[in-house]
Symmetry: C2
DNA sequence: ATACTATATTCGAATGTTGGAATATTCAAT
DNA sequence: ATTGAATATTCCAACATTCGAATATAGTAT
């Protein structure tokens, strides 16, 4: 149980572990949006967004509602928004290190080393 | 900026997206532990834990302190513990669905479909 | 029935992650 | 200097994730 709880949490984090999916969740924090609206606001390929939505659906982070032609998505539980809000605080707190970290990840340091 | 913030968050979630790394963070919530103690408590391969610690270090989720022979690890910022605590609440709230979800992921549904 | 719009799925190549085995490093003790 | 204990790193095969391209499905309107 201890272990399957951890697998569960890991799966949720996995679902959140992509910038596009984070963007989707953050957009949905403002309320329900259709897939089309998400695609438009994100300015990315339709298929790509749809794939990311499928991941979020599979892990039940979002719920969806069909309305005629369209599918409206919403975050299933506001706890997830709280998690992202905490991450925002974390980021602000460690802004400097975070920037360096991002730079290094690109192999392109923000601040040259000594 | 908007986007690199999201990449940053995604990277943190990625670092958390493994049961073993979650277990490590949760063990460290009780305070500093040496790598050896972590290995013992987790009952896994030394190399494996060390690799997971390397991931957590790279994303700066943990800090480490050398003391002679040993290396002591600690969670860098309690915000991360709060994130995991929220996940615990989320899990409890959605326990039933979560179990089914875990089951399906194994290809082994908890409740057979009619 | 046909055509159109919105969304989802499948496929494949590129890329990333994982764990074990083997090896390397670092410090302490003799 | 050598040995031993604690930890880290490298290499590699298996597996998972990502994206775009193409295709499929579902609903609406004609």
């Amino acid at each position: 149980m201890q272990d399957s709880l951890r697998r569960f949490k890991a799966d949720i984090f996995q679902a959140l572990a992509h910038p596009t999916r984070i963007a989707i969740i953050e957009l949905l924090a403002g309320g329900e949006l259709s897939a089309g609206e998400l695609i438009e606001k994100l300015g990315m390929e339709q298929a790509n967004i749809s794939q990311h939505l499928a991941v979020l659906r599979a892990k039940q982070l979002v719920v969806n509602r069909k309305a005629g032609n369209q599918v409206f998505y919403a975050v299933r539980d506001p706890i997830i928004n709280k998690v992202l809000a905490l991450m925002r605080r974390y980021f602000q707190k460690h802004l400097k290190e975070a920037l360096e970290l991002l730079g290094e990840m690109d192999g392109d340091p923000v601040v040259p080393r000594h």
